[in-house]
Amino acid sequence: MKWLTRTLTAPLLLGLVLLAGIAMLAPAKAQTIDEILSRGTINIGVLVDLPPYGILNDKQEPDGYDIDVAKLMGTYLGVKVNLVPLTSPNRIPFLLTNKVDLIVATFGITPERAKQVMFSIPYSAIENVVFAGKDKKITSMDDLKGLRVGVPRGTVQDVILAKTLGSAVKIARFDDDPSTYQALLTGQVDAIAETGLTGDNFYASHPEGNIERKFTLLQQPNGITMRKDQFNLHQWVNTFIYFTKNNGELNALWEKWFHKPLPNLPVF
């Protein structure tokens, strides 16, 4: 059987390389604001698994801050909004293959990601906090050394921990946020790096865990995300954020979900 596998490896590899090649050759469609206006609908990718940014409400419909921003965008464009629920791993593929026009999905702005996609100026921010048991003395990054720290896979906190502490910290990567919170509660990890507000609510409803906030890892500004060639749409989105920030609408949405004023969002 060994010769068989050997003879088949080469064509298989060739096939995969070919597929990858096709993927790179296929042109991402340049898209203008006029196209969306004449179509009458905008397809917006959102997350439904990151409370309170994106959740399923008690009627099982997408809801949350991101969804409200998406709907507000539709109002200003005067088109129908078609919300497409995405997951963090598949949001870039959905965008790059034109399945959505843009994504409003708590996407942190980083130079690494900007190689693939184009970000608007920040429209929201997410606070990343380290949580751990009350008996643990953790006040800074250094105190995490030698501990098992849980993070949702591929997130900004995952990258920061891996970069600054390297092998000094044992990172446990979970599929989503609830598993990460749960892992700390059931003691599978010593600490987690997660969204501040959600963690506060979750651990307040589980006082038996004796878990508290330790320190803020970072305040991450998020951008609305488009394909690299959507300059025309990009300019409109930036104008939209600028305008709704100034007239207080964005702040009102933020207060609705976070019960405090919109944090200071730097622009670029």
């Binding site: 068989l4 993927a23 399923l56 409400n57 995405l86 609830p178 749960q182």
Partner: protein, 217 residues
């Protein structure tokens, strides 16, 4: 965070619909592909045999998740947008075809050669020989592993979540993300899967018994 309500339970049950439909379509599609693969794999001519071998190696040797990914996003790249539903059915059918093909090849080869020779001696051509002599006997051998594979197929439909398909596991994840009640929600999801798979196993056992009877005679 919000409470788990009756509407959520209904949402899970409605998502089960998609799990069932996807499983049924994948089983039918996989069955058609699988039969073709099995017949090609057991052919006397080397060319179809080799095509079938390459097909099986590719689909058994790469992860199902990637196959779904390639069908769904690859279709768009080639200017052939298939949509989540069709991509999922196509991806699962192609994958199931490779596995069922290999299972059924074994079953076909388990039919004693004397049967085929006798059929030939009676002047039966390929189609009646396969249809009336070989396949009915192969079926008996094939039932337990086929059902085993189908049970697995039902459970692997959860992978369709990667292409935005909301079946019962993904629905459970989405609700868990809103309510933070993993044990309750995934408990219900597991019970739903059990309710789908257990009757299948029971039916298989009954079928096996019935077919074993016909052998005893």
């Amino acid at each position: 965070m919000r409470q788990f309500n009756l509407g959520d339970f209904e949402f899970l049950l409605l998502a089960t619909r998609w799990t069932i439909l996807l499983s049924v379509y994948a089983a039918i599609g996989g069955g058609i592909v699988g039969l073709a693969v099995a017949l090609m794999r057991t052919a006397t001519n080397a060319i179809p045999r080799w095509i079938a071998i390459v097909y099986i190696r590719i689909f058994q040797g790469t992860p199902l998740l990637l196959q779904l990914f390639l069908v769904f996003f690859g279709g768009d790249m080639l200017g052939l947008p298939l949509g989540a539903w069709l991509s999922a059915v196509l991806g699962f059918s192609l994958n199931a075809g490779a596995f069922l093909g290999e299972i059924w090849r074994g079953a076909i080869q388990a039919v004693p050669n004397g049967q085929i020779e006798a059929a030939k001696a009676l002047g039966l051509h390929y189609v009646p020989r396969m249809w009336r002599v070989v396949l009915p006997q192969a079926m008996r051998v094939a039932i337990p592993p086929t059902v085993g594979f189908l049970v697995n197929l039902i459970k692997s439909t959860s992978l369709a979540a990667i292409i935005g398909f909301v079946e019962v596991t993904r629905a459970g994840q989405m609700l868990n993300n809103a309510t933070f009640k993993p044990f309750l929600i995934f408990g219900i999801v597991s019970a739903i899967y059990f309710a789908l798979c257990w009757p299948l196993t029971l039916t298989s056992r009954r079928l096996e018994k019935r077919l074993a009877l016909s052998l005893k005679r």
